[in-house]
Symmetry: D2
Subunit: 144 residues, 4 copies
Amino acid sequence: MSKTELELAQACARLMWANDRASKEMGLELGEVTPGEACVHLTVGPDMLNGHGVCHGGLIFAMADTAFAFACNSLNRQATAMHCSISFIEKVSAGARLTAHASGRARYGRNGIFDVTVTDDQGAKIAEFRGYSRTIGGEWVSES
Amino acid sequence: MSKTELELAQACARLMWANDRASKEMGLELGEVTPGEACVHLTVGPDMLNGHGVCHGGLIFAMADTAFAFACNSLNRQATAMHCSISFIEKVSAGARLTAHASGRARYGRNGIFDVTVTDDQGAKIAEFRGYSRTIGGEWVSES
Amino acid sequence: MSKTELELAQACARLMWANDRASKEMGLELGEVTPGEACVHLTVGPDMLNGHGVCHGGLIFAMADTAFAFACNSLNRQATAMHCSISFIEKVSAGARLTAHASGRARYGRNGIFDVTVTDDQGAKIAEFRGYSRTIGGEWVSES
Amino acid sequence: MSKTELELAQACARLMWANDRASKEMGLELGEVTPGEACVHLTVGPDMLNGHGVCHGGLIFAMADTAFAFACNSLNRQATAMHCSISFIEKVSAGARLTAHASGRARYGRNGIFDVTVTDDQGAKIAEFRGYSRTIGGEWVSES
C-alpha cells in the first residue's frame, strides 16, 4: 500500500534526523514535519552566547537552516541548500525558547524557495530567513 | 600614548573572544585580526555532520559570521549583524580544515558590507558569505 | 477630521506617484495601495526584451521594487530601500501582463521587511523579491 | 584559426547587445567587456527619478544586472541570472554619470557568483550588487 504524503514526510524526517549529529550537538530539537513544512526548537543556554552577551547568530541561522532542510526534503526528493539569507530582528538572551517554522514559497524545476520565521515563546519575531534549495536526485524512502 | 589601529583591532578581538562562549563551543578558532579583516578556523569533526553526512551548513555559516563579526568590530566601534547571505559551493567531509577570511567591501554611515570566503586547506572555495553590519554606539576599548 | 489609514495610504501613494517619472517611463502602472500593501502592473512590450529575447530582469526588478516602495511608504513614514534580493523563476515573453504584489512581513525599529511576488495573468510565479526598508524621518502628508 | 578568449568575450557581447532593446531603452551604454568582466555606463536623466526625487533603484539595479549578464556570458557559455541582491549606498541625482563594473568571484559546476560595484564619476560607491548565474546550455559563437 502506498504511503500518504504525511507518512512520507515523517519517514524522510526520521531518516535525516537519525544521522544529523550536528543539529543534536548544537542543542536543536526537531518539531513537527508535514509535507513542505518543518519546525525546529532551541532553548538558548549560556554556552550559546557570543562576545556581545547575546545568542550567537550562527545558532539562530543553524536552527532556521535545519527547519529549511527538513521542509525541503519532506517531499521525498533529496535536496540541499544552494543559498540562504537571514535578517536578525531581535537580540536573544539566555533562557529564551525559540521556534523556527519553515514553509514553502515557490517550487520550479529542481529549485525551491522556503521562508523560515524564528520566534520566541512570546511570539516575538527574532529572525526572518529565506532558503533556496535544489534537488540533487535520489529519494529518502522507496515510494513503491 | 594612543594605540595604533592594529593594537586597537587586536584589543577589540581579545575582549570579544573572551566572552564568546558560543564560538568556542562550536569548535571555532580565532585566527589573525587586523583593522577591517579577520580569520576564523574550524576542523570539521564527525559530530559536525548533518543528515546528508556532510558538514552542517549552520557551522559553515557560523564560522563565516564569526569572522564577519570580528572584522566589523575591529575598528573599535561596536557593531552587529543586520543581514547575512551565504552560498554553499562545495560539500565538506569530516577531517577538513576550513578557514573563513572576512574583509570590508564598503562603509557608509553606520553601515558596513563585508565579504567572507570560506576555503579548505587545498584552497578550494567552500562558501561565499556577505554580511551587512550596523554600528550600535559604544567602543570596545577607550582610545584616549 | 483625522484621516483613516486607508485614506493616508492612498494620499501617500498619490504624492509619490505624481513625482515618479522613472516608473512611468518604464511603463509601470500603479495598482491598488492599502496600508502596508501595494500592486504594480506592467505589460511587457518588445522594447523590454534583453539579449536572450526575454523580458529584461531589470524591469522585473523595477516593478517589484516600485511595489515595495509604495508599500513601505504607505504608513505615511518616508522610507527608502536599503537592500533587495530577487529570484527569477520564469522567463517572460513580449505581450505578458505582469503584476507585482508587495506586502509587509516584519517591522522593527525603523526597519521593514516586505515580500513581493510577481505573477503573470495566468497566475504563474515569475519572480520572488524581498525588500529591506528603513524610515528616514518625515511624513508624506500632515496627519493633524 | 581559433579565437582568443578576449575575441570570444567581445563577440558574445556584440551578439547580446545587438538584441538587447531593453538596456538601450533604459539609456544603458555597454562599456568594456573582457573574459569574466564587463562595464555598463548610465547618465542619469530627469526622467529617471522616482517619487523621492532621486534615481529609481530599478535603474541602478538594471545597470548592475546588465553588467552582470555581459560578464557571466563572456566565456561563450549562455547563462542567465538565478538570483541577485543589491544594497543601495548613496542616493543619486539627475546629471550623475554612473559606472557598473562586474567581475567574477566564483565558478562551480554550472553556477557563477559575480560582484558588481556601481560608482559615480567621483568614484563614490552608489551600490553593491551580487549576482548568481547558471549556464543554460548553448554557445553564443561557434568556437571551431
